[in-house]
């Protein structure tokens, strides 16, 4: 029960950091060797060596963050924001390395200029217990609309 509560709070915090654009704090939730992965194909099982929408270690996350914070990132100029809802949190087994596997569902609404888009799907977090919290070893994001044509692009993590 306590574990369920802790993991849920962790996931809510992660969403909050995205929606409030606290990029560095969001990146800090990952372990040093952590990976954020959005597969191009739901059948893919490993992020390495296959086409992916996102397959980012902390260095690449840094590039993305520094890009969006640059004053000349033109696509960042218009008003845009997101709102995440995370739910259906299920704690599964542990990985071979002893990480907690947590599955959940998300819905994200994005506003850019006057356009609203919706993205929804499932998260799978591999969480490493550390003193006073968790670090993400792997976040897999399977978006239901991952394979549909993108009207414009995804600028930051979902």
């Amino acid at each position: 029960m306590e574990l369920q509560h802790e993991v849920e709070q962790f996931l809510y915090k992660q969403s909050e950091l995205l929606d409030t654009k606290q990029w560095q704090a969001w990146i800090d939730l990952f372990a040093d060797d952590g990976v954020y992965w959005m597969p191009a194909d739901p059948a893919h099982e490993h992020w390495d060596g296959v086409p992916s929408i996102f397959a980012e270690d902390k260095n690449l996350m840094s590039v993305r963050m520094k890009r969006v914070l640059h004053p000349d990132a033109w696509s960042q100029r218009p008003l845009w924001g997101t709102n995440h809802v995370v739910s259906n949190v299920v704690i599964g087994n542990y990985t071979a390395d002893g990480e907690i596997v947590a599955r959940s569902r998300f819905h994200m609404m994005e506003l850019r200029r006057d356009d609203v888009r919706h993205f929804a799907g499932s998260y799978r977090h591999h969480l490493k217990k550390i003193d006073g919290g968790y670090r993400i070893k792997l976040q897999r994001v399977d978006m239901t609309n991952a394979q549909a044509a993108y009207d414009y692009v995804l600028q930051v993590w979902v």
Binding site: M38, A40, D41, G49, V50, P51, S52, I53, F54, A55, N59, L60, S62, V63, R64, M65, K66, R67, V68, H70, P71, D72, A73, W74, S75, R77, A148, A149, Y150, D151, Y152, V153, L154, Q155
Partner: protein, 444 residues
């Protein structure tokens, strides 16, 4: 109002294009868009796909040529056919998925007419009782699925033309064939195979705005500065920590480190039919162990001299007008499918060099993911500019689009227009594309 303007303009198409500038309606007028589909896209050779997308009999992929929904399918005889995705009976689309396998034949979901994969009618339910004594039957071509007028394949890349007459694919491609030669020659086995994933991204802008950006050597250091600087900072950090950053960082940081003045060092070659090549490539042949191991596989396959020739081909982008942008040294391409006057779909594919080490595939895969995925670190700013261009061109704030940069300095060599030394940022590729556009639109 809009309709009237379209009609007026189609009567005077020749007034729309001057050697160094173009009227804005060329990008925004729905009537002109319709004419473009008829006179350009539904006439010239359009890229359909790679034959490795459909390896087995019955495998198919759908695609759009101009306004026509088409299906590319592998027949039992091994041939790749391109058909209109339409049942000749009541017009039902034959396949509704983007891709799949249709089994031994196509079967319409409405009344079960069946067709061979070359489009020929196979059977109609109760054909005898329903159609005896009528012209309907296997001998009537109107009862078969219509085929693209012409289909040709160059080194595995399948093109179709919906017009019976016109240049052959080889004649049409001309020197731009280098896109496919360069890509395939880099494989020790002389061929590529598709990586089975297509990234699809919609641009809210006219299709020509994308093509004109592809060889625009002035834009990278402006549009992509934020990504270049961000990647450069992280690249330096990694080098400090580990002594060596992956090549993908260099590919991104070059947008900032190749400053605006240095882009003039590149060159564009402008060919008939609107095709163009941008030369120059940013550090694709480093001396790391992966590259050296790859070079050895090429030496084993072709010998030292030929290996040097192959890796010495100096290309950044090849544009095959009006619908394909190829980055041959990175084995990827973007096919352009106009959806409407202000909406354009790009279909983005990556290829594996047959016989090359895994590390070389992964190197170009990194570029495919970082630059060409729907979470692109690079094209996000291009698409923003394209949208803004289209919005601006829809206004009455001006009538012309200027392509005058380095105009008058180009060097003409037979039918090839080369940019002069230190004129790499010339707008010659845009002038060349519009020259082809005007010729096609005039029906020539």
């Amino acid at each position: 109002m809009q309709q009237k303007r379209a009609t007026d303009l189609s009567a005077s198409l020749s007034d729309l294009v001057q050697p160094d500038r173009v009227r804005r309606e060329v990008y925004t007028d729905p009537g002109i868009f319709e004419l473009e589909m008829q006179r350009i896209h539904e006439r010239v050779w359009i890229y359909c796909g790679h034959d490795s997308q459909v390896p087995k009999s019955g495998d198919y992929y759908t695609l759009q040529i101009g306004r026509q929904p088409m299906v590319m399918v592998r027949g039992a005889d091994g041939a790749v056919n391109v058909l209109y995705n339409r049942c000749p009976h009541r017009g039902n689309m034959m396949v509704g998925d983007r891709h799949g396998n249709s089994g031994e034949f196509f079967r319409c979901s409405y009344h079960a007419w069946t067709f061979h994969h070359d489009g020929r009618l196979r059977n109609i339910p109760m054909m005898e009782s329903g159609y005896a004594g009528t012209p309907y039957g296997r001998d009537n071509p109107d009862c078969s699925m219509r085929r693209a007028a012409r289909v040709e394949n160059y080194r595995g890349f399948v093109f179709a033309s919906l017009a019976k007459d016109g240049p052959t694919l080889k004649e049409f491609l001309g020197e731009s064939r280098v896109a496919f030669d360069d890509m395939c020659d880099r494989a020790p086995q002389g061929a590529v195979e598709v990586v089975p994933n297509c990234f699809r991204v919609i641009q809210r802008s006219n299709w020509k705005i994308f093509l004109e950006n592809q060889l625009d050597a002035l834009h990278p250091s402006v549009t992509h500065q934020s990504t270049g600087r961000a990647a450069h900072e992280v690249e330096k950090d990694i080098e400090k920590k580990t002594g060596h950053a992956p090549l993908s960082y260099h590919m991104l940081s070059a947008f900032a480190t190749v400053t605006i003045d240095k882009w003039d060092n590149f060159q564009t070659l402008n060919y008939p039919h609107g095709h163009c090549v941008l030369t120059g490539y940013m550090g694709l042949r480093p001396k790391d162990p992966d590259t050296l191991a790859y070079e050895k596989t090429l030496v084993d396959a072709y010998g030292q001299k030929r290996m040097e020739e192959i890796l010495g081909v100096n290309i950044h982008h090849v544009l095959i007008y009006p619908g394909l942008s190829v980055q041959s040294p990175l084995q990827q391409l973007r096919a352009v499918r106009p959806l409407g006057v202000d909406r354009t779909l790009t279909e983005i594919w990556h290829f594996r060099l047959k016989g090359a080490p895994e590390a070389i595939y992964r190197r170009s895969l990194a570029y495919y993911n970082l630059v060409n995925s729907p979470a692109t670190l690079v094209n996000a700013d291009d698409l923003e500019n394209f949208w803004k261009c289209h919005q601006g061109l829809s206004s009455d704030g001006g009538d012309w689009v200027s392509f005058a940069r380095h105009f008058g300095r180009d060097i003409q060599k037979n039918d090839v227009t080369e940019t002069a030394p230190n004129c790499g940022t010339s707008e010659a590729p845009m002038r060349n594309q519009m020259k082809a556009w005007a010729r096609y639109m005039a029906g020539r």
